[in-house]
């Protein structure tokens, strides 16, 4: 009897890898992937939050899609939630109620999905701000910047479609407003609104199914494609990095992808998922059962869209009652400017910004090193302006809630928003600009004069001076100061950053060190209690001590 060759388990991985490589030649590409170097800074991980939230959205969304009925067919509710017993509602709303109250784990999935959507948009905005303020959008990364702007707007649309699917009282009002926005577009507005809704609002019952297909198929497909392109570009062009020791415009200093970087990514994914799950358990979001089914005659105070759409609600609330009457009896309604023209400007302008800045600074070189915001006060000021503008609009989107909670007149809030929108952004620009200049100046001052040690010394002529620790070789008081060049990176401003004060303080929220190991001042040996002469000691003892 022929013996079967014994299966050598330990050689199995090697043999498998060999078989795969025979067919696909993956050895070198795999090694290239494993060895890719990524720079290390906390602000480079913000985009990851968006990526991980997107994955969470896909996973939870798949679950929800198994139970949701995207139909506007009218049904009579006979489910578990008693305060809506016997009410007429669409099948979409009824299936959302079923998900929330009758599907095991349905509510936590709904809440994880919605919180994750808010986190997705929040992290996109924070990531975009990081990229803007550090200049990472410059050549050769303009295309990635454009893809990012598109990702924001497509995510925005995806979120709007998503929260409109349940056809509840709050989002239905949003759909009504969306219809009015389309209607306000000159010439083609009525045609567009009619095409999408299938007739006068609410249309022929197809708007929810259409939003559904957009939300689960069309838009996620586009998002996936754009995210893949976004990441592929980062991969190909390699990530930018901060200037610093050993870093140049033509290298990347950091750690290799595997295992280090990948482990951090995996851990971070788990933490993002965990935070979303925690928030979904701790905080209720979008309780549609209070809103009731959408009815055209019903509305609630404190009606707002989700936060990432709220800036458009704010622009609509603030816009003055200006309607353009054109000859021939045609009109351009006041809704057109804050909801169609403004988003158009807010898309075109950011997309063109890298090219505008390149032209204004006449800088056409490729940049792989980031800039500290203080080193580009113009851009930082512009960014501060944009952020202020956006914040005033978003806050104005919730101005009735703020008015009610803080006992402010609603009319006053509207006027404050209108005036604030004009005055605050230029003010923010000015303040940011001056702050940047001040910080730059301080950097140069430390480079020229050294780090403040906190030691006050009295000179023989009676003056008090603070001792500075110079950063360059020659000391203070030389005929020629050694002029250190500012290299675009953080200038150490504290003694512990120079290592001159013992080890840097460990600990993030509070110092981790034992009192006995407290750092001592430089230039003097540690002083123990016994060495120090007491004040009441005799003059002889004092002399002795000083001579020692």
């Amino acid at each position: 009897m022929r013996k079967r060759p014994k299966l050598d388990v330990r050689a199995l991985p090697g043999k498998t890898a060999g078989e795969i490589d025979d067919r696909l030649q993956v050895a070198t590409p795999l090694r290239r992937l494993l060895n890719k170097v990524f720079p290390d800074h906390w602000s480079f991980l913000l985009g990851e939050i968006a990526l991980f939230s997107f994955i969470i959205l896909l996973l939870t969304g798949t679950f929800l899609a198994l139970f949701f009925d995207p139909s506007m067919r009218e049904v009579t509710y006979s489910g578990a939630y008693e305060p809506l017993q016997g009410r007429h509602m669409s099948a979409a709303y009824a299936s959302t109620l079923d998900l929330s109250f009758e599907v095991r784990g349905g509510l936590i999935m709904r809440q994880m999905h919605h919180w994750s959507a808010l986190l997705f948009m929040a992290s996109i905005v924070v990531h975009m701000l990081r990229v803007f303020f550090t200049g990472a959008f410059r050549k050769p990364r303009e295309l990635n910047w454009i893809i990012g702007i598109l990702l924001f707007w497509i995510g925005f649309t995806e979120g709007f479609a998503g929260y409109s699917l349940p056809d509840d009282g709050l989002s239905g009002t949003g759909l009504r407003i969306a219809h009015a926005i389309m209607l306000s577009i000159p010439v083609i507005g009525h045609w567009v609104a009619n095409a999408l809704f299938g007739g006068e609002f609410p249309g022929n019952g197809l708007i929810i199914p259409r939003l559904y297909i957009a939300h689960v198929f069309l838009l996620p497909g586009i998002l996936l494609g754009l995210i893949t392109a976004h990441l592929a570009l980062v991969f190909k062009q390699k990530h930018t990095q901060w200037p610093g020791p050993g870093r140049t415009n033509s290298n990347v200093v950091g750690e290799r992808m595997f295992p280090r970087y990948a482990i951090k990514q995996g851990g971070f994914f788990a933490i993002v998922f965990g935070v979303v799950a925690l928030m979904a358990g701790a905080f209720q979001i979008n309780p549609v059962w209070y809103f009731g089914p959408y009815e055209a005659a019903v509305v609630s105070a404190a009606s707002q869209p989700d936060w990432y759409v709220m800036f458009l609600d704010g622009s609509t609330r603030l816009f003055p009652p200006w309607q353009l009457e054109l000859p021939g009896g045609y009109h351009i309604p006041p809704l057109f400017w804050p909801t169609v023209v403004l988003p158009g400007i807010l898309t075109i302008l950011p997309i063109l910004y890298p090219f505008i800045e390149a032209r204004l600074t006449k800088d056409r070189r490729a940049h792989h090193l980031l800039q500290r915001p203080r080193d580009v006060p113009n851009r930082t000021g512009l960014g501060a302006m944009a952020v202020t503008f956006y914040l005033v609009l978003t806050i104005s989107g919730g101005n009735d809630v703020i008015a009610e909670k803080f006992d402010i007149s609603l009319n006053a809030m509207t006027w404050a928003g209108r005036i604030g929108l004009i005055i605050l952004p230029p003010l923010a620009y000015y303040i940011a600009y001056r702050v940047c200049l001040g910080l730059q100046q301080h950097d140069r001052e430390v480079l020229a004069h050294g780090v403040e040690t906190g030691i006050i010394r009295r000179l023989p002529d009676g003056r008090f001076i603070e001792v500075h620790q110079p950063l360059a070789g020659s000391g203070h008081g030389d005929a020629e100061h050694a002029q250190l060049e500012y290299s675009g990176w953080v200038v150490p401003k504290k003694m512990n950053r120079l290592g001159a004060l013992g080890p840097a303080i460990k600990g993030f929220f509070y110092p981790i060190e034992k009192p006995a190991q407290a750092p001592v001042s430089p230039g003097r040996p540690p002083v123990s209690a016994g060495d120090r002469p007491a004040v009441t000691d005799s003059p002889e003892r004092l002399e002795d001590a000083s001579r020692r």
Binding site: H41, W42, S43, L45, L46, E82, P83, Q85, G86, R87, F101, L107, W115, L119, A122, V126, G169, L170, W242, G244, K264, G267, F268, I271, V275, V276, M279, A280, G281, A282, F283, Q284, I285, N286, P287, Y290, G292, E295, A297, V298, S300, A301, A302, Q304, D306, W307, Y308, M310, T394, G397, G398, D400, V401, E404, D407, S409, L410, N411, V490, F508
Partner: protein, 299 residues
């Protein structure tokens, strides 16, 4: 000075017209008319004529004089008298001595009914602390008995709507029927109330510093009274418009909103996307940014 003639006293009480009538009509008791009969007889006759004249005058006056002027106290129940005493010390500054209102200070309370008092005083809104856009709920200044007394006084003073006694919930013991009534109340609430008080009863802003208050502290009677009387800028939902049965359904729904614990966790004020947006930044993004600082530091 009170005269010793009953007719004159009566006439005096009525403002002295009888007295004047007595004076213009006839003769002064101290100056009788003179004539041929003997002095004593003339005196007696004068007195008799005077008395008769006075009686006639007084009687005619009693028969034809107009009704009581405001100084007369109308007949009030004991409770209302108690209420009046409270009213006179706490409310007249703004609402006038007889609740007729003071221009630019306080409205008239004639016709507002006991229900208004139950709502305004029972929620502490009245006495109002100062002139402002709207009275706000404050610690109640009176005990429930005092409030009932004030309500009785205002009701008897000028009439108006009253909150019915007993339970103000739907009268059914069948839990399924009760659920249907609550659901019907929800429909009515969303159509008539949610636009100001929000879907979750959290309260909303009105124009120029006014607001529709939160409903979490309102009792059944207060909700009923508010619907019935339309306090300040709230529209009036009289019993002709929202029947008592419909009001009970609405009350059942509102209290159910408060009793039902939120199944999804902390409700963030039931205010919707504003607080949700704040939460994602203050909780979610803050935690995650601290995490990124821990992961990668500042290189």
């Amino acid at each position: 000075m009170t005269s010793d003639q009953p007719a004159e006293r009566r006439a005096e009480r009525r403002g002295g017209r009888g007295w004047r009538l007595g004076r213009t009509r006839g003769v002064d008791a101290l100056h009788p008319a003179s004539g041929p009969p003997s002095r004593a007889r003339r005196r007696v006759g004068a007195v008799v004529r005077l008395t008769a004249a006075l009686l006639l005058a007084g009687g005619l006056y009693t028969a034809f004089a107009p009704g009581v002027a405001a100084e007369d106290t109308p007949s009030l129940t004991d409770k209302a008298i108690q209420g009046k005493a409270l009213f006179d010390t706490s409310c007249v500054t703004c609402h006038g001595r007889n609740a007729q209102g003071v221009t630019d200070v306080g409205p008239s309370l004639i016709g507002v009914g006991g229900a208004s008092v139950e709502f305004q005083v029972g929620t502490g809104r009245m006495p109002m602390a100062r002139q402002e856009a709207q009275a706000m709920r404050k610690p109640v200044q009176f005990t429930p008995e005092e409030i009932a007394a004030l309500a009785a006084y205002v009701q008897e003073l000028g009439g108006g709507p009253q909150v019915p006694g007993g339970s103000l919930r739907p009268t059914t013991s069948d839990p399924e029927q009760l659920a249907l009534e609550i659901a019907q109340g929800g429909d009515l609430y969303r159509l008539n109330c949610a636009q100001c008080h929000t879907f979750g009863g959290g309260g909303g802003a009105l124009s120029s510093g006014k607001w529709a208050p939160r409903l979490d502290k309102a009792t059944d009677r207060q909700i009923y009274a508010a619907m019935l009387t339309g306090p300040q800028n709230m529209p009036v939902f009289g019993d002709n418009q929202l029947t008592p049965e419909e009001k009970r359904q609405i009350i059942a729904y509102i209290q159910n909103l408060q009793d039902d614990r939120d199944p999804g966790g902390l409700n963030l004020g039931r205010l919707g996307p504003v607080t949700e947006g704040i939460a994602i930044f203050l909780v979610g993004m803050v935690i995650l940014i601290f995490t990124t600082l821990w992961i990668a530091g500042k290189s």
